[in-house]
């Protein structure tokens, strides 16, 4: 069995789908960067904040000045074109990936699942010879040209896309999502004025139907895309699903990234088949005489670690106590896409040795967007509490604790305290169980009656 898998993984396959993936990825990234440059979001994310939430070990990552951030994204756009066209691919792809990673490391509140996916796909492309065909590099340098790649290279990309869908589906395996139709009920109720389809959203049961449809789609689409007999139909479902979610929700480039990435599940020669339909003959390579190529040992170890991480990271929240929707422990890098709605005030209170209290509004340190993102994420609340502590000490205050008084509504439940108000957050260590986060509120979420 293992030998058969090894043989299948090392067999040569047409490079066309991998090259097409590179072209599409580069093009979509170019569009993303231009979209960002054309919006005010660079100011919003990197210029307006006076303080940033950092990832552990990456507090040294700071934004460029405003002009630098614009230049950075302009360079990313150019690098994207380099990826798409396969020009100096071995240089531009890692540069793009590192450059994009940098933009994500600046502030945790900018985290988006599809941005994480971009970093992963950029990392994979960095390691794969996707410029072996349909690239400037291949045209310029015959030694770069390839007609085939070992199947495991295509499998790796398929694995990554499959991981996104599968874990996004498993993340929906929750009572709120499946039994109460939340938070879709809340979101659809606000979209009853949507042209043509808005009247549908007046029907409360639609939230349940869409919740289950989303769950079934995400958990099974990889299977349907992997099976040749259902692949084409499944892809039409992919287009419909991502088209609908992109139309209804502000999810940016996510639908385009996923719709284009899912093409990797088609036969490795699918681009040639498509070109042939448009009268461009491009015959697939004869792979019968091509050698099987196994990855070198170092690569095998790296792939094993990568695969294990991609499976372990989304599952890690299961070993943490409490609800991931509430304490968010294990929420990031786990494909928990659009599965909760959280709102509520977070009031930081410095309590001094003499018993006096001083409320410190988060707005004194954060933009409205950062404050909104922080409100639902305990680790960010902890970070700001520490920053407030340092800030107060810098202003001469001594002998105080910093507490957080929170009243957070999860999926329309009544607001409940999320952070233990008795805990001095300056004494909390952000490793191990988050016992400073109170248990999630019990009982079912409330629903709303959609109105026009």
């Amino acid at each position: 069995m293992l030998d058969r898998i090894r043989a299948a993984a090392t067999r040569p396959v047409d490079i066309a789908s991998l090259a097409a993936f590179r072209v599409i990825f580069g093009t979509v990234m170019f569009a993303s960067c231009v979209r960002l440059l054309a919006s005010s979001w660079i100011d919003t994310m990197y210029v307006e904040p006076s303080w940033f939430f950092t990832y552990p070990g990456f507090s040294w990552v700071q934004p460029w000045p405003a002009w630098g951030m614009y230049l950075h994204y302009a360079v990313l756009a150019l690098l994207s074109l380099g990826i798409a066209s396969g020009t100096f691919y071995r240089v531009v792809t890692p540069l793009f990936t590192l450059g994009f990673l940098y933009t994500q490391l600046i502030d945790v509140t900018n985290y988006l699942n599809h941005h994480y996916l971009v970093v992963l796909l950029g990392g994979l492309l960095t390691c794969l010879p996707a410029h072996g065909a349909w690239s400037i590099d291949a045209r310029r340098d015959p030694s770069v040209r390839r007609r085939v790649v070992p199947a495991w290279m295509v499998w790796l990309v398929r694995f990554q896309i499959g991981i996104v869908y599968t874990f996004a589906g498993l993340a929906k395996l929750k009572v709120d999502w499946l039994l109460h139709g939340q938070p879709l009920n809340l979101w659809l109720a606000a979209r009853t004025e949507t042209p043509i389809f808005g009247r549908l959203f007046l029907e409360p049961s639609l939230a349940y139907v869409m919740s289950w449809a989303g769950f079934l789609f995400d958990t099974t689409i990889t299977l349907w895309l992997s099976w040749r007999r259902t692949r084409l139909y499944a892809y039409f479902v992919v287009i419909f699903f991502h088209g609908a979610t992109g139309y209804l929700f502000n999810i940016g480039m996510f639908p385009i990234i996923m719709t284009s990435s899912a093409l990797i599940f088609f036969s490795p020669s699918w681009p040639r088949t498509l070109l042939a339909r448009f009268g461009r003959r491009s015959s697939p390579p004869d792979v019968t005489h091509e050698p099987h190529v196994a990855p070198p040992r170092v690569a095998r170890v790296a792939i094993a670690i990568y695969v294990a991480l991609q499976v372990a990271l989304p599952l890690r929240h299961h070993v943490y106590p409490g609800s991931v929707l509430w304490n968010e422990d294990g929420m990031r890098f786990a494909w928990h896409v659009l599965i909760r709605e959280k709102h509520g005030p977070v009031v930081f209170v410095a309590v001094f040795a003499d018993g006096k209290r001083l409320e410190v509004p988060a707005r004194n340190y954060l933009t409205a967007r950062q404050e909104r993102e922080m409100a639902g994420q305990p680790d960010l609340i902890l970070q700001l509490a520490r920053h407030i502590g340092a800030s107060l000490r810098g202003r001469g205050f001594r002998d105080f604790a910093v507490h957080a008084e929170t009243a957070i509504s999860l999926n329309a439940r009544r607001p409940a305290p999320m952070i233990d108000p008795a805990v001095d957050l300056l004494r909390v260590r952000d490793i191990g169980p988050r016992d400073w986060v109170l248990p999630a509120p019990g009982g079912p979420p409330r629903s709303v009656t959609p109105v026009r």
């Binding site: 988006l112 029907e203 049961s205 709102h343 967007r369 202003r395 009243a407 109105v451």
Partner: protein, 392 residues
């Protein structure tokens, strides 16, 4: 679950039924966002703008009367009259300010700042203008002045000067030549600013009126053809944004910071910080907050002394959450009651460390907690000042 009922609806929509009247078995359309917007815009917010303009219109004449009397050497009660007229204008503007949306809020609150710029004020620069304008009235052009030396806040300083002296570190040019004419110079500058404020309130009112900019109509017709709003819900979010004035400005800036309840520029903890005080010269913070809360209640409930219609409480009820509407209304009423118990003189309350300030603050926080949590969640609204970026 009622999935089977969905099929006819899907078919109806697929056949272009989106614009048709609801079928008898369709979900009853028990609430209309557009109707709420129309009521709030035309029956609540527009009258507030009209009253603000009407009250502001009376201020220049009242101050002129005081100036004339000063110059005649018979001020009598004209200063009291001018102050009372200014106070009424201030109070009515506090109502407009409490749910600041539309023309006055546009362009980073440009018009609002010309009418009332607090917390931006520079008393030293006002003193400079006082001297320079009195010595050469033709040199003074208010249209070239920054908001920190104009608006109702500047008039407050000029009508309630803390001393006869200036507030600068170095004496402003020409100040020494004013001598005993300082009150007259301040009065005439106040009059010039009041004329400008009155004009600006008319600009705001006109921008709201149907025969002017018709912002009230823009809100009422949100989501319809030609509307700048993509949907009525988007316009509801704009009005909702206005409600949040009570959180950051009223609860935090007007009450908590001067009382040392919240972080402030003085570094005061549990004691007063007068540098943060609104209307410090006239000592009208209590009145301002009361007016803020009264206007907030009118918009939240859609109910004024003269009209009753759809408000956010009705929206919550329509969505099935009358309990939240009742709780928020009760909490707001409690906050209003606690503010009414507070001394009319906020300064006196601060100076005596009156615990009622903290009580009123806590009462208001009960309302804003719901506003920032279940109100936003249940109505599917966004926080104000938030920039809609990508999500996933």
């Amino acid at each position: 679950m009622r999935a089977p009922r969905l099929l006819p609806l899907i078919l109806a929509a697929a056949c272009g039924g989106g614009g048709a009247d609801p079928k008898p078995d369709a979900k009853p359309d028990s609430f209309d966002r557009s109707a709420m917007l129309a009521h709030l815009a035309r029956e609540v917010l527009l009258p507030i703008q009209a009253r603000a303009a009407a009250e502001a219109a009376g201020v220049p004449a009242a101050i002129d009367g005081y100036c004339d009397a000063l110059e005649a050497g018979t001020p009598g009660t004209t200063l009291d009259t001018a102050r009372a007229t200014w106070a009424r204008a201030m109070d009515t503007w506090q109502r407009a300010e409490a749910v600041l949306i539309g023309p006055a809020a546009m362009d980073n609150k440009a018009l609002r700042s010309l009418i009332y710029a607090w917390p931006i004020i520079s008393t030293c620069e006002i003193d400079r203008d006082t001297a320079s304008r009195y010595l050469d009235p033709s040199s003074y052009d208010i249209s070239t002045k920054l908001v920190r030396v104009r608006s109702l806040a500047a008039i407050e300083y000029l009508l309630y000067p803390p001393s006869e002296s200036h507030s600068c570190i170095t004496t402003p040019p020409g100040w020494d030549t004013l001598g005993a004419n300082v009150p007259r110079a301040r009065c005439r500058l106040a009059e010039a600013i009041a004329i400008d404020v009155a004009a600006k309130t008319v600009v705001v009112e006109t921008a709201w009126k149907p025969d002017g900019g018709n912002y009230a109509g823009t809100l009422a017709n949100a989501g319809k053809s030609g509307s700048p709003f993509a949907s009525a819900h988007e316009a509801v979010n704009v009005v909702s944004n206005g409600l949040f004035y009570v959180d950051y400005i009223v609860k935090d800036m007007k009450i908590a910071e001067p009382a040392g309840i919240a972080d402030n520029s003085c570094g005061a903890v549990g004691t007063k910080c007068l540098a943060e005080l609104e209307l410090p010269y006239a000592d009208r913070t209590t009145f301002a907050v009361r007016e803020n809360l009264a206007a907030l209640r009118e918009v939240f409930t859609g109910t004024t002394p003269t009209t009753d219609g759809l408000g956010f409480d009705d929206f919550l009820r329509a969505l099935g959450h009358g309990d939240v509407a009742d709780q928020m209304t009760a909490n707001l009423d409690n906050a209003i009651a606690e503010m009414n118990k507070l001394s009319d003189s906020f300064l006196a309350a601060l100076n005596s460390n009156d615990p009622q300030i903290a009580v009123a603050h806590t009462a208001l926080r009960a309302f804003t907690t719901d506003l920032k949590s279940q109100f936003l969640t249940l109505l599917a609204l966004e926080l104000p000042d938030d920039v809609p970026t990508d999500n996933d």
